[in-house]
Amino acid sequence: MSASTTNTPVLAVRDLSVRFTTNDGPVYAVNDVGFELGRGQTLGIVGESGSGKSQTMLAMMGLLARNGTATGQVLHHGRNLLGLPAAELNAVRGDRIAMIFQDPMTSLNPYLTVERQMTEVLELHRGLGRREARVRAIRALDDVKIPDAKRRIDFYPHEFSGGMRQRVMIAMALLCEPEVLIADEPTTALDATVQAQIVQLLRELQREHGTAIVMITHDLGVVAGLCDDVLVMYGGRVMEHASADDIFHRPTHPYTRGLLAALPRLDAGAETLRSIPGNPPNMNALPPGCPFSSRCRFVQERCVSTLPLLQPLAPGAPTLRACHRSVADLDALEAADA
């Protein structure tokens, strides 16, 4: 699908849609999302809150809430994970595909020691005994640079700081050396210096183990630091899918451009923070056309009535975009605006 997918994909998502049945009628949280992920690759999924980033990941892991249904395909080495029985899914989850969550404060069980929570993973997936599992767990904590891991492994989660807890989560996710690591905003709950450390750590671990990473974030800095490819989502749809370089230097979608313009920059010296006017769409009542149409500066009639399809920028080009206006059009309009 995209330029940097050179080797066979570890994970391929095709036409993934998620629908929630609510009292206010069906909510289409994710629509026709697709991507491929090769070994050692990193894909960033960016978008505002409610754009469907997290639900995409939860659907892939079979973790949707009870009222949600996922359609499409999530292929792990060609095997569709959607609709797999719980036992088979459990064999994949935590072993071949692992996940780390946004808030390390709440995603560890407060009543179990870190040792217990880590050894459980190895007992489940590797059938290791408690002692052997403990040795491996200590090594994993060493890998994520927890000082004095041998002693700290017997600590309870509340005895770790936020950054340390996220490292514990990462260590735990990497225990079985998964092929894919799904990170759902792993740095959001951490302060800036710790964020940088975690991103650095992920990069190092990826280099060592060749893990493919799906990084869900709304922090474009994290994307720049870590990702090969970027998927920009809005209103449950993919707006643009391109290499990280292209996203930052040659964004082709008005929404992507808006996101980048909203980044505060130290060098540009702008007095006011730019934002995209308006609010994220109400997922209960999406317009029939482009979900971004209500906030787009370059909106035209066609945008409101018909949905733009996700298409290559040019025939055979790696960048995919969903917009009725051509890039040349956008450039001209932007120039006229300024």
């Binding site: 935590g94 969550f101 005895e159």
Partner: protein
């Protein structure tokens, strides 16, 4: 980032339980109650072995005697000349045994039932909780009397009869707590790791329930001991010459006017035990209250 942080001197593994213990120790009445209760339990277990009188041997010279040092009848004797001190201790054995057994059974059933219902949710939850509701509507004493009359007086039967009804509250409390824990992120994290559902319930959810369970158990224990006494008082408990606090109080109440010590000592033993259990429950509630961290 690879710089090693200075190793602080925190002792390893300061669990939430340890914090609770420290807070519990500050609750003086509760700590005192633990000692008194332990003393009563020890006396009940070992007292009869150390005292010269047997619980069923009759002293023909001393019937309905008031407390006296003669012959070690420190609590006096009953109308058959049996030593009341030893009988109170033996009765305590039965009462405490029934209390502990029935509590264990009811807590186990209650926790498993409540946790499974709460975690499963949906129809399973509804069905399981409707069963609890139905059991609530059954007149407990009537059924207990019926069971004991039909199957005979057996201490295990008494335990079963009491346990069969005392797990209901526990199940409700545990279910409510499970519902709130179920939505916590670490449960989702456990799923993402590939932990099977039953293991999530018993490895991840149940430890988080323990605070509530411990507190609630301290309420169940006195209730269960009291139930045993009620059943015994109604003549449905253990068989003569074996006795329990309920039986002793029953017998003592009949001759309360003439020989008040016969009701006084067993009643005091029961009341003190119940008070202690309540104080301990109080202390535990304070100690495990998460707001008090």
């Amino acid at each position: 980032m690879s710089a090693t942080l200075p190793v602080d001197a925190a002792p390893a593994g300061r669990s939430p339980w340890r914090d609770a213990r420290v807070r519990f120790m500050r609750h003086r009445a509760a700590v005192a109650s633990v000692f008194i209760l332990a003393l009563i339990a020890l006396a009940c277990v070992f007292g009869p072995m150390l005292l010269p009188n047997a619980f069923d041997s009759v002293d023909w010279n001393l019937m309905s005697a008031p407390p006296t040092r003669a012959g070690w009848h420190l609590f006096g004797t009953d109308e058959l000349g049996r030593d009341l001190l030893v009988r109170t201790l033996i009765g305590g054995r039965i009462s405490l045994l029934v209390g502990v057994l029935a509590t264990l059974v009811s807590v186990t059933i209650g926790v498993v039932w409540g946790a499974v219902a709460g975690f499963a949710g949906g129809r399973v939850d509804s069905a399981m909780m409707r069963i609890v509701d139905m059991a609530y509507a059954v007149p407990y004493l009537l059924i207990a009397i019926l069971v004991v009359t039909v199957f005979g007086r057996d201490i295990l039967l008494v335990v079963a009869a009491i346990a069969a009804f005392s797990w209901l509250d526990m199940a409700r409390v545990v279910r409510g707590q499970t519902l709130s824990i179920k939505s916590r992120e670490f449960v989702e994290a456990a799923r993402a790791i590939g932990v099977p559902t039953w293991r999530i319930i018993f490895q991840h959810v149940v430890p988080n329930l323990m605070g509530v369970v411990v507190i609630y158990t301290s309420i169940v224990v006195p209730g269960v001991i009291l139930s045993e006494s009620v059943l015994s008082f109604l003549g449905l408990g253990v068989q003569e010459p074996m006795t329990s606090w309920g039986v002793l109080i029953h017998d003592g109440a009949a001759v309360m006017g003439a020989t008040p010590w016969m009701i006084l000592f067993p009643a005091a033993a029961l009341s003190i035990t119940l008070y202690c259990a309540n104080f301990i429950g109080d202390g535990l509630r304070d100690a495990l209250d998460p707001k008090d961290r």
